[in-house]
């Protein structure tokens, strides 16, 4: 186990640092421990895979890393802020401006066009309509969907849907891209193309990426792998050589 880490200052390269995070779900009198002890640190510009069997707690960890949920114990510093102490509205703001989510099942608004879906995070950031349209168009073009702006999700293929989702995740210039099984619903070829995009974003734009997966091929394309089992981070929780 690593020694007690000091609270990170703003100068540390770490974008994510968790310390003995626990998450216990209580329903009625039954307490389920989803996360027992998760301690990880991610440097800015890293591409990290979190691996583990189903039920290992990796989805719970991802929810906490994405500020969708709070740990019941432990600390989580995200971009220099102790987010466990933030209010719900502050967490919304962190998700809106600093985190981009990519989900396994894409989760796009079915009645909205690709363009409108990509605009959505900007709506909550208060970006004026014209500016957000321009930005969304640019991002869709950059993931190769410049010709599909007005298409609705039911008119797009799985690979295209995930590319729309990636454009949506990037639209507010987040500090972290958080992907939950991004290739899980895709065929091999589309999955590989999606991973190419993640690689490109990490290499060329220095995007910090955390990808939760149980696909070894996907994990192999990441710079570092953290394994989680029974709610505990097993290995590589912190980068081997600072």
């Amino acid at each position: 186990m690593s020694p007690e880490p000091a609270p990170p200052s703003r100068e540390t390269p770490w974008i994510i640092r968790t310390e003995k995070i626990q998450r216990v779900f209580r329903s009625h009198d039954v307490a389920t421990i989803a996360l027992a002890d998760a301690t990880i640190a991610v440097e800015s510009g890293e591409m990290l895979a979190i691996m583990g069997p189903s039920g290992s707690g990796k989805s719970t960890l991802m929810a906490i890393l994405g500020c969708l949920d709070r740990p019941t114990a432990g600390s989580y510093w995200f971009a220099g802020r102790e987010v466990t102490r933030l209010s719900d509205d502050e967490l919304s703001s962190v998700r809106n401006r600093m985190v981009g989510f990519v989900f396994q099942s894409f989760i796009l608004l079915q009645r909205s066009s690709a363009l409108e879906n990509v605009e959505l995070p900007q709506v909550y950031a208060g970006v004026p309509p014209r500016a957000r349209r321009e930005k969304a168009k640019k991002l869709l073009a950059s993931v190769g969907l410049g010709h599909r702006l007005g298409h609705r999700p039911n008119e797009l293929s799985g690979g295209e849907l995930q590319r729309v989702a990636i454009a949506r995740a990037l639209v507010n210039d987040p500090k972290l891209l958080l992907a939950d099984e991004p290739t899980g619903n895709l065929d091999r070829k589309s999955g590989s193309e999606i991973m190419d995009i993640f690689r490109m974003l990490n290499r060329e734009r220095g995007m910090t990426e955390v990808i939760v997966t149980h696909n070894a091929e996907v994990a192999a394309r990441c710079g570092r792998i953290i394994v989680i089992q029974d709610g505990r981070t097993q290995s590589g929780g912190e980068k081997a050589d600072g």
């Binding site: 994405g66 969708l68 989510f101 608004l109």
Partner: protein
């Protein structure tokens, strides 16, 4: 997220489920239609009643024997144990009070009227020579009674238009004799037609001198006295001076009831208004039921869209953004229903106007405003609960919902 943005999303969602939206709005449409049409019906009745009252003559006071607590048209039958109203009372009012322009003493009853082979039960109105000017009811042919006819108790009669037609058909009745309750009367005039008011045919009447009527109906007093004041402004003064005069003629006892036309009108208006509010209140219940329909559909919509709510929260929506979004959706739904309800009502009123041109059908504009405001309020009231529920969803759990 701005409200305008919310309205756009709301319209999109409502448009995506047209049948459901339509059925939910129907509840509000029916409620708004019921409220406005019943309130307007009340206003129509009010206008109708005051039109009928205006036709009665104007600036009228009705003097009845006995003191009554309740104000209204009241019972017109003489009350025992009080000073009766006499022809001398009527004469004193006519002669001594300058604020009074005319006095009509009244004794009436239903009597059998015969002419030739025709006989008919008709309203027999015994009154004085000033009746035509007091009630704005003139003759079309012949003449009305003279003061002399009254004083000498002459057996002369003036016929209402309906009585004239029923008894004489095409014949000229002037100078002919009719038998009123077995007593012959000579017809000296025919009154102009006044039509049907509040369900009574005002033309089915025979006028005879009040003195003759007292004998026919075996009455030693008057049932009431109708007095016309010079002007609307002089009505209260006339009432006071009549009361004083009659009091002095009764050894200081004040035991008459004087009701002005305006008082009767306001009493009737009070009744019409009360009915209107009761009916509108019942109609408002249907609006509330419509609101429950909205709440129901919003709850269903929220559970169907749990994932969307989770997504929006993950992408940065605060609880209050979600609250606003769903609140706006329910208000748009109810407001749209309210506006359609108003349009339907206006269309129905125009249809009713062309079907019943005789009725003074009006739309009460405040009812329109109230109904639309009320439907928006219902949208807020019944939308808050579902919207708050949506706003409280945990983003993580909402995202996991399939």
């Amino acid at each position: 997220m701005s409200v305008w943005e919310c309205v756009r999303v709301a319209l999109k969602m409502l448009g995506a489920n047209k049948l459901r939206t339509g059925l939910t709005m129907l509840g509000i449409i029916i409620g708004v239609f019921a409220v406005i049409s019943l309130v307007s019906l009340g206003a129509t009745a009010r206008r109708y009643v005051s039109d009928q009252f205006a036709a009665m003559g104007s600036n009228l006071l009705i003097i009845m024997p006995g003191k009554r607590e309740t104000i209204g048209t009241g019972s017109m039958i003489g009350v025992t144990n009080v000073h009766k109203l006499t022809l001398e009372d009527a004469e004193a009012i006519r002669r001594r009070l300058p604020s009074v322009s005319g006095v009509a003493p009244v004794v009436y009853g239903i009597g059998l009227v015969k002419q030739g082979g025709v006989s008919r039960n008709t309203f027999v109105n015994g009154t004085g020579h000033e009746y035509p000017s007091v009630r704005d009811h003139g003759v079309v042919s012949g003449r009305f009674f003279s003061p002399d006819d009254i004083d000498r108790e002459r057996r002369v009669a003036a016929l209402g238009m309906k009585a004239r037609i029923e008894l004489f058909g095409e014949m000229n009745p002037l100078g002919k004799f009719i038998e009123v309750m077995g007593t012959p009367f000579r017809v000296i005039g025919v009154m102009e037609s006044r039509g049907i008011s509040l369900g009574i045919d005002l033309d089915d009447v025979v006028f005879i001198p009040v003195s003759a009527a007292q004998r026919l109906f075996n009455a030693d007093s008057l049932y009431h006295i109708i007095v016309r004041a010079n002007s609307d402004a002089e009505v209260p003064g006339a009432e006071t001076s009549i009361r004083k005069l009659l009091q002095s003629r009764r050894n200081g006892v004040d035991d008459v009831t004087i009701v002005s036309q305006n008082q009767m009108l306001s009493t009737l208006n009070l009744i019409v208004d009360a009915l209107t509010f009761i009916l509108a209140g019942i109609a408002a219940i249907s609006l509330i039921v419509g609101g429950i329909g909205i709440m129901n559909i919003m709850l269903a919509s929220i559970s169907e869209r749990t994932r969307e709510i989770g997504l929006r929260k993950a992408l940065g929506a605060r609880s209050r953004d979600i609250l606003t979004q769903f609140l706006v959706e329910s208000v748009v739904l109810s407001l749209l229903g309210g506006l359609i309800g108003v349009l339907v009502t206006v269309a129905a009123v125009f249809a009713a106007r062309s079907l019943f041109p005789a009725l003074p059908i009006v739309i009460t504009s405040w009812a329109l405003v109230l109904a639309v405001t009320f439907s928006a309020a219902i949208g807020i009231f019944f939308g808050v609960f579902p919207a708050r529920r949506a706003a409280r969803f945990s983003p993580m759990e909402a995202l996991r919902t399939e």
